[in-house]
Amino acid sequence: MATVTLPVEEKKKSNEQEALITGAEAIAIACKLANVDVVTAYPIRPYDTVMQYISQLVADGEMDCEYIVAEGEHSQFEIVKHASVCGARVFCGSSGVGWMYAMEALTVTPALRVPLVCMVGNRALDDPGAFGVEHNDALAVRDLGWMLTWVDSAQEALDTALIAYRVAEDRRMFVPLAISCDGAFLTHSQALVKIPAAEQVKKFLPRYDRGDLLLHPDNVISVAPQVNEDWVMEIRRQNYAVTEIACDVIREVYADFERTFGRKYGNPFFEEYMTEDAEVVLLGMGTLSTPVKVAIRKLRAEGKKVGFVRLRWFRPFAGPELAKCLERFKAVGVIDRDFSFGSPNLSGVVATEVRSAMYTGSSTRPPVIGFIGGLGGREVTVPDVEAMTDVVFQAAKGKAQPLTQWIGLRG
């Protein structure tokens, strides 16, 4: 880690350091700042660099935690699940099929109300093998009570990890949270990141308190007994209740983050780029924001009024708010770095969700064109974005377009 010390006057003011680090390293540093108690690792690219950094932090005495290398992802997630029930702040993560290998553990974690925070280094699912980004791994848990967020820079990765602990460990929530970082594009790309001071983080992030749900000899409780049809529905309803308030809790935490650290994210749920006077917008998650923003600047120079909406939080999905935002435009193009074979309109996951949100949340319901691209780590290029924008403009003019189109596909 190359550390750049700021000039004294500025340091006094912000008490921050700046360093050139990758997205994975940013999350490792956030874990250190959050004083995480138990970390479990298992190798799979590309998420696993975060564990290399944490291992080094532990070996150097910079981070005090139990660092356990598990024998598979299922155990990796089960170990931290139980550690969290016993009062520890926990961290782990995975990628691609590793995440799927942990699926049983991922299923029970929200049901047990465990505020596990983890990182998904998004990766294509096997087969065939590909190291590059696809979002189907993290999206596989979208119906199970997990909170899912996508970040697009190392700075946002660090900040979101701190926010994640506050949100997940809020007593009203107590559900797991996965921070998705696009494999390679974010996990392995360096950028200058402002690292907040430990005392500030301590103020922002109180110790995790499991309260009356703590598994400890002083608190004799039975956790997760067999309930059958007598109670399972009521217990599911409690998880549902979390999703009813999740957006409010997230808003509160972002406001507090801004007060504490002075960094603003505006609307927590989605970022808008050049949308103010836009006629059409593209929408997507993660690091495709970079080529899209470059292309938009180019298209704007050509007089085409296009903007971009980057979705940060997929679960909870800020449906009404997003629908209100999108109905301002004449057409919307959703870029999915995922697939949902056999879905309505054969679209990707995000396009389907956006259409669903628009159906109830918008009175105008502009056309929503779905694009599937950038799979397996293929770049979404500036010409790709230009081509998509053309299609969306056609749709805006009322010319019917196929509802799902694959972009950047070879021959």
Partner: protein, 337 residues
């Protein structure tokens, strides 16, 4: 010489010196819905009593979850948590790690807490074997994995597991018109697997609920010695083995007296056979024929003499040919020839 293993003190539980010295307090009481004559429930009760109040218990899926802990009717007087079928190893590791780090950081009272994870044979010998094996390799954490073995997936309707006996009739291995024997597998030798595969483990043992005082004291020893430990308990199951519940205790004894279920413990690498097993090994007790054990159970009712003879020959081999009789199935080269 220095070691980086960070050992933490245990509760150092002394052995109960006789039945009359066993405390009256129960930490596993009424509320469970297990069958009459269930020896698996019996080991839960003995294990909880042996461990005492400063304990948490993690129970993987199986009879001792589904039949045991109904909402609002838990039998547990200790903190208890359900864990996934294959997660007894990971659950114990997670709990032990959480306690240790919080005590080190001064946010939890520093005291030795017993961490016990139990699993059935399906959870332990089949699905959870990898996680238990991984956990046995972590010398820094004090914990006990107790595998109660009723020799089938008894909760899901009696299906063969890795520890089901050869030839047994289960709902996945019912004898038919052409094939009398559907389960060709020999019972997995789980305790020695833990023992031989994990050289730093300080305690591995077998117990039987037919010898309750000994079973409790072995649990206490496993909890006191430090590091990860493993106990394999054989539990006759009236429903799965198809016998009158009144015979539960007797079948446990017969399993030992026929030499099918050897009782032993390995403490810091030293093997000690105990009870009738020790007498069998030293020649002071002649093993009873396996026929006496098998034919008391409906699950072997389809056996013909050939099957019983085969079963007997395998048990004879175990005692006459194995390098460590009854335990380690290596044979001396000269004998193998």
């Amino acid at each position: 010489m220095s070691t980086f293993v960070d050992e933490k003190p245990t509760q150092n539980l002394e052995a109960f010196k006789g039945v009359k010295k066993v405390p009256h307090e129960e930490y596993y009481t009424s509320g469970h819905r297990t069958c009459q004559g269930c020896e698996s429930a019996q080991i839960m009760k003995l294990m909880a009593k042996a461990a005492g109040p400063r304990t948490i218990v993690l129970g993987s899926t199986g009879c001792m979850y589904v039949a045991n802990t109904s909402y609002y009717a838990t039998p547990w007087g200790l903190p208890w948590m359900h864990t996934q079928l294959g997660s007894s190893g990971s659950s114990a590791l997670g709990a032990a790690a959480a306690f240790r780090v919080q005590m080190r950081k001064g946010v939890m009272k520093d005291e030795p807490i017993n961490v016990i994870a139990f699993c059935g044979d399906g959870g332990g010998a089949d699905m959870g074997l990898g996680a238990i094996s991984a956990t046995m390799c972590h010398p820094d954490y004090n914990l006990l994995i107790l595998m109660y073995d009723n020799e089938s997936y008894a909760n899901t309707d009696i299906q063969i597991s890795g520890t089901s006996p050869y030839g047994v009739n289960t709902s996945f291995s019912t004898p038919g018109k052409i094939k009398r024997i559907m389960n060709h597998r020999w019972k997995k030798n789980v305790a020695p697997l833990m023992l031989v595969g994990h050289p730093t483990v300080k305690y591995v043992g077998t117990i039987s609920t037919s010898y309750p005082l000994q079973a409790m004291n072995n649990v206490r020893k496993a909890l006191s010695i430090g590091g990860p430990t493993f106990i394999h308990c054989l539990n006759p199951c009236p429903k799965g083995w198809d016998f009158d519940p009144v015979l539960s205790f007797e079948l446990g004894e017969l399993a030992v007296n026929t030499g099918i279920w050897p009782l032993y413990e390995v403490e810091n690498g030293k093997l000690k056979l105990y009870g009738k097993t020790e007498q069998i090994a030293s020649g002071r007790f002649k093993r009873l024929p396996v026929r006496d054990y098998l034919l008391k159970q409906g699950r072997f009712a389809h056996f013909i003499d050939d099957d019983i003879d085969y079963f007997q020959s395998k048990i004879d081999e175990m005692w006459n040919k194995w390098l460590v009789p009854g335990i380690i199935p290596l044979q001396r080269e000269i004998e193998a020839e």
